[in-house]
């Protein structure tokens, strides 16, 4: 079996999901840390974005890697979901949970697609928004002044938090990095990360809506 053949096996595809997923978890943390400068006001956020853009080619390279990771993660995820559906052509008349399944684990494809939709809108709204000067701070203030945008953002953030709460520990398991009896610990870590990401990113639209960035 060659390298591509190995990646195409159920184990290989899950490893691909795990590696790219963990990459996104890292990105979420960096993105969150950077965004916290929003709470320090326009100047701090402007300084942060200026520093980020001064990376030049490194930033472009990172963005390209993120794009490739997104393409792999989304395509593999959709393929997995379709294959899994096909693996049981005749459904059960009655289903019950045996005790392992959670809301997050059973809805990965849906929270995943919701996240994709959210990120697309997010990139259109912020990254590719017409430039309003050197800082994007006014765009943040203007966007989160609208109730419907705040609602949409919270929905997107909740989807990401659910996705992470299963995906983070699941990635370790898929990559074989879950030792004997390590599952409860990893699941707690995933829950912690999901809460951090959910509350952290969720606080931004809410606080900007309530206090308009003041």
């Amino acid at each position: 079996m060659d390298f591509i053949g190995r990646i195409e096996t159920p184990v290989g595809k899950k490893m691909l999901m795990g590696i790219t997923g963990l990459g996104f978890c890292g990105f979420l943390l960096v993105h969150l840390a950077g965004n916290f400068t929003l709470f320090q006001g326009s100047e701090a956020f402007g300084a942060y974005t200026a520093k980020l853009h001064s990376l030049g080619i490194l930033l472009k390279l990172s963005e390209f890697i993120l794009l490739v990771m997104a393409a792999l993660h989304v395509l593999t995820g959709v393929v997995l979901a379709l294959e899994n559906r096909a693996a049981r052509p005749e459904k059960y008349q009655m289903t019950a949970r045996h005790g392992g399944r959670t809301l997050a684990s059973s809805s990965m494809i849906y929270t995943g697609l919701l996240t994709l939709a959210f990120i697309t809108l997010h990139l259109i709204g912020f990254k590719f928004a017409p430039s309003s000067g050197p800082s994007r701070y006014p765009v943040v203030v203007a966007t989160f002044a609208h109730f419907e945008y705040v609602g949409a953002y919270l929905l997107g953030v909740i989807a990401i938090a659910f996705h992470v709460s299963h995906g983070f520990w699941s990635a370790f398991q898929s990559l074989g990095a879950n030792g004997e009896g390590g599952t409860p610990f990893l699941r707690r870590c995933a829950l912690g990360l999901a809460l951090g990401v959910g509350v952290g990113f969720g606080s931004m639209p809410v606080i900007f809506f309530l206090f308009q960035g003041r």
Binding site: N84, Q173, G182
Partner: protein, 250 residues
Amino acid sequence: MTQSLGLTLKIWKQRGPDVKGALQTYEVRDISTEASFLEMLDILNERLVLNGEEPVAFDHDCREGICGACGAVVNGKAHGPLKETTLCQLHMRHFKDGDVVVIEPWRSRAFTLIKDLMVDRSALDAIIQAGGYVSVNTGGAPDANAVAVSQELSEKAMDAAECIGCGACVAACPNGAAMLFTSARVSHLAQLPQGKPEAKKRVASMVACMSEQGFGNCGNERECEAACPKGISITHIARMNREFLKSFFK
């Protein structure tokens, strides 16, 4: 204390792999609470035969919970409601008088339905066969402790070897994956010195075979370990994934 109960059974009836099946309702009465689930089906079948009706086909063999032949999905749960218990070891005292019990076969693309509750699980045999051979020294009886295996390792290998190959993990998996079964096989040998020379080849070809049989992909939903009558843990899946990763490097 022996008591008896009556149940409404809704059993999947299907004459063969290529015809449509449906749930058929049967009423059973005076079932002893000391009867096993399969004995309850025996009683039903006896009555059906006496009445000139077609009995319900189901797989069974040892009825001691160690052979892996029996198994059906009872009220949505593989091997029924009791943890770490095969269907043959499930007793009727775990049901209440008047219960409605839905009984269905294992459902997976890789398991062709033979009749009623019987499915062809040879896809699991194919995965074992793909594992190939294990190198052992031949000749005279080996010296005691010539191949050192610690108590801890042998216990861990035994945890994996406990798999009876019933297929409940596949039946319970929301994705119809055979990862717990395959990983139990891989993890058993991966922890022992015997068969080490073939370790990389073995895991790669077993995973490839699993993929070819038409099983789904693991979603790490842990339904398999919750349904497993032998309580096999998903830690074996993690070990198989590790072994598979190792097989990338020659």
